[in-house]
């Protein structure tokens, strides 16, 4: 398999470059959204220790998003902030699961967020992310492979965090088990949107830039099944969402979040912070 050691090695290969850009946007936009939805919980989490933990996960994850956008800079000729905040709606590639709101309301106005949903989505996403990072550690694009290894070390703590909540809540009250079950049904409706690779899937896999959707799906489901078995909750059916986000279709809530994230930046993109 051909290896691409640097941006220069791939930037003049239109086929390879466009597939890599597609994959990096999936990685960057997923982490951008996970970090944003996490940050909306700040001050609303069940207790202060959780505020510390969840905001730390948000900060690390935003760091991962920024790193992916930075890898996109030499491939697109744009800077990371513009890539994160100034693209049109159909250019975003995050999965529908990560753009779903935390619950009814907004963080500044009548938030009625569901902690069970945060726990199950956290568990599902971080399980998927661990598997994806481990597979990307052998990407044919060397800068991507190196970044994936580094992030995997850090992400270990994120997954541990959600596994702890998942275990403890599932062993607590009937209400907790009922709410986890309901949240799991919602999360699993959107779960297949995570591993979809979008319109360039064939090139991504053929050039070894990233793992196939089938591989990630199989490993993620296996890991999640083990989690459900461990706490004796029944494994919910997978949904078949009309769109995944990887093709550029998004929910209105997802688009509203992007507009909010970029609101200040768009006022004066040239300002130094």
């Amino acid at each position: 398999m051909e290896r691409f050691a640097s941006p220069e090695a791939i930037v003049n290969r239109p086929d390879a470059r466009s597939a890599l850009v597609e994959l990096l946007f999936q990685l960057a936009d997923d982490d951008l959204f996970v970090a944003h939805r996490a940050s909306e919980w700040l001050g609303l989490a069940p207790h202060i220790e959780e505020d510390v933990a969840f905001s730390s996960i948000a900060q690390n994850t935003m760091g991962h998003a920024l790193y992916w956008y930075t890898l996109l800079e030499p491939l697109t000729g744009k800077n990371a902030d513009d890539l994160a905040y100034l693209r049109p709606r159909e250019a975003y590639r995050q999965a529908i699961l990560v753009e779903r709101p935390n619950g009814p309301g907004l963080f500044y106005e009548n938030p009625s967020y569901d902690w069970a949903y945060a726990v199950v989505r956290g568990l599902a996403y971080e399980t998927f992310k661990r598997i994806r990072l481990e597979a990307l550690a052998s990407s044919s694009y060397v800068p991507l492979a190196e970044a994936a290894l580094k992030m995997r070390d850090e992400q270990f703590y994120h997954l541990y965090h959600w596994e702890t909540w998942w275990t403890e809540l599932s062993q607590s009250t009937d209400e907790a088990r009922r709410r986890l079950t309901e949240a799991a049904r919602s999360v699993f409706h959107d779960l297949p949107t995570l591993w979809d690779l979008g319109p360039k899937a064939e090139t991504i896999v053929r050039l070894g830039l990233g793992p196939s959707a089938e591989e990630i799906e199989r490993k993620t489901l296996k890991a999640l099944e083990a989690e459900f078995r461990r706490v004796a909750l029944s494994f919910p059916p997978l949904g078949s969402p009309a769109f995944t986000g990887r093709e550029g279709q998004h929910t209105d809530e997802g688009w509203a979040a992007i507009q909010m994230m970029g609101e200040v930046y768009r006022m004066a993109p040239e300002a130094a912070w």
Binding site: E49, V52, A53, G63, K150, Y160
Partner: protein
């Protein structure tokens, strides 16, 4: 690790060597913004120093390894390194880059940093030796010569529980309170012996598992 670019004649070579020693000494004095008790060098964050001759003066390029990709203190570190290295005579330009290969792991921390961290109130990360026939190809050799004395030996593929010693009383009867602390690289433990909470540097890239509450 330090690598030289070809530098002209013997006298400029001597000059470059002198600058390198001054840069290394300067970096020994740049503290981590969030743990000033230890320097960036002691934390194993300095990957490569290049002294490049530029028109009878020298440009210094320094590659640093971020502890965490999204560590918000990276810009502070960059500025502090530039500020410290620039006044060295003969240096006209300082360029600090953050690189992700080799990746920073906690076994890059120098043995000399461990007692300093402990005295500062932060338990150092576990120091492990993996019984492995050969290092994995993507791993960098341990920096700065002698490895730290190992606290435990781990078989390939196995892992040990992270159980730091309390920096206040030395007890090992400690429990993990929160893997997340005031900075990305620290967690919160509780000492059941002296009843104090304390911070511990997260092990990163070493075979460790976290305690689970019973």
């Amino acid at each position: 690790m330090t690598v030289d670019r070809p530098i002209g004649n013997a006298s400029s070579k001597r000059e470059a060597e002198k600058i390198r020693r001054l840069v290394e000494r300067a970096l020994d004095n740049v503290g981590d913004p969030e743990m000033p008790a230890v320097s960036l060098s002691e934390l194993g964050m300095v990957h490569e120093i290049r002294i490049v001759e530029a028109d009878r003066s020298f440009r210094v390029e320094i590659d640093l390894l971020p502890t965490f990709v999204g560590c918000p203190a990276l810009e502070l570190m960059r500025r502090e390194v530039e500020r410290t290295v620039r006044p060295i005579p003969g240096v006209v330009q300082v360029e600090v880059r953050f690189v992700s290969h080799p990746r920073w792991t906690t076994d890059r921390i120098r043995p000399s940093a461990r007692p300093k961290l402990e005295a500062y109130g932060i338990a150092p990360p576990p120091c492990l030796t993996v019984r492995s026939p050969a290092p994995a190809p993507d791993e960098a050799p341990p920096p700065n010569g002698a490895p730290a004395p190992a606290e435990a030996t781990v078989a390939v593929g196995a892992s040990v529980e992270w159980n730091p010693r309390c920096p206040y009383c030395g007890s090992e009867d400690t429990i993990l309170e929160n893997p997340f602390g005031p900075t990305s690289c620290r967690s919160i433990f509780y000492c059941r012996s002296c009843l104090n909470p304390f911070e511990a540097m997260k092990p990163l890239g070493v075979p460790v598992v976290l305690q689970r509450r019973p």
